[in-house]
């Protein structure tokens, strides 16, 4: 057993015998409390660094590649819908895997885990609604340009709302900042047109995610 506090603290002779066969002074107890508290706060928090990195790279490389494919198209005919669907599904799967893995690694269960699952469902529902809406747009005769802007902006919009609501649950200010930024990118990026929106979103949203991944450990309480 790892009992380090077998001696009384210097000058703090308030030693008391623990019934596990050790003697612990009040100064020792204070040190143990501080160490255990620090360690628990550091190690029990769920890190979203992997998820931020996956999303950041996904946006930067995925949206960047799409922009390279569609730029200069005259008239704009965009991506094959199947390509878009596969990309979105892969993104959803990677988020779910990342979050579930982070949760499992932390060992924390209970209400936090339930909230996390509901949030994941919210993302999936958001993406499902997005596909349905895209179908409705196509069905009502929206042009390829309109659908192109929608395809680029809607996932960023869903992600922005996801982080916005997440921050409300956890009072997580850096995540709130990310959510607001993504909503701004989703709202403004479309003005770059059906080709340019992919480049704007790749840079503005992708780099924001990578920035979050880089600074996340320093933003959390230690």
């Amino acid at each position: 057993m790892n009992e380090q506090a077998g001696t009384t603290g210097a000058g703090m002779g308030e030693a008391a015998g623990g019934d596990d066969g050790t003697t612990m002074g009040v100064a020792d107890a204070a040190v143990i409390m501080q160490e255990a508290s620090d360690r628990a706060r550091r190690q029990l928090r769920v890190s979203h660094r992997a998820t931020f990195t996956i999303w950041g790279l996904g946006l930067l490389l995925g949206y960047g590649s799409i922009w390279l494919t569609v730029r200069g198209q005259q008239p704009f005919h965009g991506l094959p819908p199947a390509t878009f669907a596969v990309g979105a599904l892969l993104s959803s799967a990677s988020i779910m895997t990342g979050v579930a893995q982070a949760q499992a690694d932390s060992g924390v269960g209970g209400l936090s885990a339930v909230r996390q699952r509901i949030h994941l469902l919210a993302v999936l529902a958001g993406f499902a609604a997005m596909f349905a809406l895209e179908g409705a747009l196509a069905h009502t005769g929206a042009s390829r340009s309109v659908i192109g802007v929608f395809e680029a902006s809607a996932p960023v919009l869903v992600a922005g709302l996801f982080y916005f609501t997440t921050s409300a649950v956890w009072l997580d200010w850096p995540v709130l900042g990310l959510g607001i930024w993504l909503l701004v990118v989703a709202a403004v990026g479309g003005f770059a047109g059906p080709s340019g929106v992919w480049a704007v979103d790749a840079l503005a949203a992708g780099l924001a995610y990578l920035l979050m991944a880089a600074i996340e450990p320093r933003l959390r309480p230690s």
Binding site: E14, A16, M24, A40
Partner: protein
């Protein structure tokens, strides 16, 4: 309760670590037995022994879910456990403060200013756990 006001159930190094670690969780959360064991650094047998004492006092709950390879034992601090830790922290702080006063008072009486006089490590104490 000890004569110095410290709860003997908590006032043992291993159990103090267990209770403080569980108090770092949010309300309604629990921690897997395996993860708790990693964080505390005890053998499974020792951890079970200490958890049983805490459970008998009503400070923690341990619940087993699932079976076979999916079995997971989760441990959580109860409201009574959280309250007991708050009382323990308060008592500890008072003891440290009084010890500090005793150390400093002879120098005050002699009118001497002693640089670097030892201070009680109350600053080391974590903030009282939030409910």
């Amino acid at each position: 309760m000890n004569e110095d006001g410290l709860d003997p159930v908590i006032h043992a190094p291993a159990r103090l670590r267990i209770v403080v670690t569980l108090a770092a969780l949010r309300d309604g959360d629990d921690l897997s037995f395996t993860r708790l064991q990693e964080l505390i650094g005890l053998t499974p047998g020792n951890l079970i022994t200490h958890l049983r004492k805490l459970e008998d006092a009503g400070y923690v709950t341990a619940e087993k879910n699932g079976s076979g390879v999916t079995a997971r034992t989760s441990v959580a601090l109860t409201l009574a456990g959280r309250a007991a830790l708050e009382r323990y922290t308060t008592a500890l702080r008072q003891l440290l403060d009084s010890a500090s006063s005793r150390l400093l008072s002879p120098h005050r009486q002699q009118g001497k200013r002693r640089l670097g006089a030892p201070r009680a490590p109350t600053a080391l104490l974590p903030r009282a756990p939030s409910a």
